[in-house]
């Protein structure tokens, strides 16, 4: 996944910071990655700013069973955009500063209070939308939510459970229609 950069690529990037973490033992990513530790190079934000954003994303969308590396995707997206957009970088820098020292390591009620104060700001609103767009598009979040994603490459859901709900009555044919290829 994009948050895990290879060593060669890191050489060519002018980095401003780095975000690191360790995958959980049972993580689906740990099965694929060469090592359980991960690192995200930052090209606009500092390491500390990255840690604050990660904590902010987790406070906005707290899923305890979701690993930091999924939230790091939000940081990665913000960092990449900030590298191209000076105005965004300024907004992120100011917003992160406004969250206060120690935000990344504070307990959840403290983080909620700090974020809540910024709720009317564009920084908060943009971060909320970005967190939703990026986090809920990660394979890790999909695994957590049970979401199976696109199915065209597998022939659709026609033979993969589009109508497998059994805890409600079946619909009479007159109000539905035949399943293609299933006779009826």
């Amino acid at each position: 996944m994009s948050a895990c950069e290879s060593a060669e690529r890191r050489v060519f990037l002018k980095t401003t910071g780095v975000l690191t973490g360790v995958l959980a033992l049972g993580s689906p990513l740990a099965l694929l990655a060469p090592s359980r530790s991960w690192a995200l190079d930052l090209t606009a934000l500092t390491s500390e700013q990255g840690r604050v954003l990660l904590a902010a994303a987790r406070t906005l969308l707290p899923h305890d069973r979701l690993e930091d590396v999924a939230y790091a995707a939000v940081v990665n997206s913000a960092d990449q955009d900030a590298a191209r957009d000076a105005e965004l970088k300024k907004s992120l820098t100011e917003g992160i500063a406004a969250l206060g020292k120690g935000f990344a390591d504070a307990d959840e009620p403290t983080r909620i209070a700090a974020l809540g104060k910024l709720e009317p700001t564009p920084f908060f609103q943009q971060l909320r939308v970005r967190s939703i767009q990026v986090l809920y598009a990660t394979p890790l979040a999909h695994a957590l939510l049970g979401y199976e994603g696109e199915a065209f490459s597998k022939g659709g859901y026609l033979a993969r459970g589009f109508n497998d709900l059994r805890w409600l009555p079946e619909v009479p044919l007159v109000d539905a229609g035949p399943v293609p290829g299933a006779g009826s």
């Binding site: 598009a137 007159v174 109000d175």
Partner: protein
């Protein structure tokens, strides 16, 4: 594909390649009429449609900013994106849900049936239902609409089973898998739906009707269509006789081009259609082309929308299956005892995680919001689509914001009528009751943010030229060889999703244009 000269003044220029423009292109070319079709976007295909929702959105959507104001939620939540429109060959028929109900007989007589209502600009349609019905028949056959003309319905998905169970418990009589322009069986040279979900990202099997792979290739096959992509119309010009004679546009390289025309059909969706006509103001038409009545851009309607997401005790996996194959018809009636006039459809709808979090759930963050999202597999969802009431000051106009070419973008102002608010409250409550009757332990309601996708009324048809922009054929009252070929011409919005009516009116208008050309009237 044909290529016509810029100074060929025998061509009909169509602006926009969606439901209206794409259909019009096919209908005119198959009658031997030369057409230049200008499309601002690129040409995607079933092969190029992305299956990553974020990428697909960028591929198909009109991303340039617009602006908005008024008390509708859009002006707060997504002020620079008041409408979700497409900018690609096929227009919104690439991303639509393909829900194709008809307007009902009484809906076309809204002013008569609802009576005089303060704060509205209601009129009756200048077309009788019996007249429109002939073209509904043709349009339904063209689009292979399910449950019409002997075409089977789509099968019941998991999400639909929830809607259906709830509807039956509430006593609704007419709940079914809907009237959809999605193949329930192989036909029209296109496959049957494989229930993949991703309707909104562009249908990769072409089971869903889109002008991109139906009307437009058929028009190209006649040898009479010159489709010009990445060609953004900026101005329609007229001669001293007051008739339009050319369309100015920017081509892919940003170069200005001028295509001469015998007649012009504008089908850019209410936003861009209104904008183009306003940008085409001249000494003769100082308020904008076709706008001597000052009705252009007014009476903007966008439907009363509302979402309801139910959290069930057991898995639904709503993402599996056709995005909108479920409909309840019972609330499409005029019963002022409910506290409002007009009716609404209840429609099943599917979401992916990002879309449900951004568009369907009420705004939120933190533990409760994430907790709801954690139940994503158990969610079922419904939406209401109802008739909003036209108001003269709800309008599309030119913004102070400018596009990359320095031209003013479209601005949308909407103040909701109390009737719209009452209808939404009722519709959301009914949607909630449906989901609860099916066993939902929690139902979350939202206004239907962020944006409008049904845009109507801004160049409305009227018999009296003082009350509208176009006559009952979508022909400008002011300029006889200028036609509007999209939802802008709806005299009132009714409750039905607009595309079927847009296609029906385009089929009717094409017949009329061809006859007018034969008669040398245009």
């Amino acid at each position: 594909m044909a290529r016509f000269a810029f100074d060929d003044d025998g061509v009909v220029v169509i602006v926009g390649s969606g439901a209206g423009g794409g259909t019009m292109a096919h209908e005119l070319t198959r009658r031997g009429i030369k057409v230049v079709l200008l499309e601002a976007g690129r040409r995607e295909s079933v092969a190029s449609f992305s299956q990553q929702p974020g990428v697909a959105y960028g591929q198909l959507t009109w991303l340039e900013p617009r602006s908005s104001s008024g008390d509708w939620s859009v002006a707060r939540t997504t002020p620079s994106a008041p409408a979700w429109l497409a900018r690609t060959v096929g227009g919104t028929t690439t991303h639509w849900g393909a829900v194709t109900p008809r307007m009902l007989d009484w809906e076309l007589r809204a002013r008569t049936v609802y009576g005089e209502l303060a704060g509205t600009s209601l009129v009756d349609w200048p077309i009788a239902y019996q007249e429109l019905a002939k073209y509904y028949d043709l349009a339904e056959k063209r689009l292979f609409v399910t449950r019409r003309h002997g075409i089977p319905g789509l099968p019941a998905s998991n999400n639909f089973k929830v809607m259906y169970a709830g509807a039956k418990k509430l006593g609704y009589q007419r709940a079914h898998t809907g009237y959809l322009a999605i193949n329930s069986q192989p036909q029209d040279g296109r496959a049957a739906c494989i229930q993949q979900g991703f309707c909104v990202q562009g249908c990769k099997t072409a089971a869903k009707w889109s002008t991109l792979y139906t009307e437009i290739p058929r028009a190209e096959a006649t040898g009479k269509l010159d489709l010009r992509i990445e060609s953004m119309a900026t101005r329609i010009e007229h001669g001293a006789n007051g008739r339009v004679n050319a369309v100015v546009y920017r081509d892919a390289s940003g170069q200005e081009q001028r295509q001469k025309a015998r007649a012009v059909c504008v089908a850019g969706n209410a936003y861009e259609t209104t904008r183009l006509l306003l940008l085409s103001q001249s000494g003769k038409f100082p308020r904008g082309l076709a706008n001597s009545s000052d009705q252009l851009g007014r009476h903007y309607c966008h439907h009363v929308l509302g979402f309801a997401v139910g959290v069930m005790d057991q898995p639904v996996r709503m993402w599996r299956g056709t995005s909108q194959a479920g409909l309840i018809e019972d609330e499409v009636r005029n019963d002022p005892k409910r506290g409002f006039v007009g009716g609404y459809w209840l429609e099943m709808v599917n979401f992916d995680p990002t879309a449900v979090a951004l568009a369907a759930l009420p705004y939120g963050w933190g533990r409760d919001f994430a907790g709801v999202m954690g139940n994503f597999s158990n969610m079922a969802a419904l939406m209401m689509v109802g008739e909003d009431l036209p108001r003269a000051d709800n309008r599309i106009s030119l913004s102070s914001t400018r596009d990359a070419h320095g031209l003013p973008v479209a601005h949308a102002h909407v103040d909701e009528h109390a009737n719209d608010v009452a209808m939404r409250r009722h519709g959301q409550e009914q949607a909630k009751r449906v989901l609860e009757a099916a066993g939902a332990r929690r139902v979350l309601l939202s206004v239907g943010s962020p944006n409008a996708t049904h845009n109507m009324g801004t160049a409305r048809m009227s018999r009296d030229p003082a009350l509208g922009v176009t006559n009952p054929y979508g022909q400008s009252h002011d300029v006889p060889n200028l036609f509007i070929s999209d939802g802008s011409v709806f005299s009132t919005p009714a409750a039905a999703n607009p595309t079927l009516t847009i296609v029906a009116l385009a089929l009717r208008q094409a017949e009329y244009i061809a006859a007018q050309m034969v008669a040398r009237a245009i």
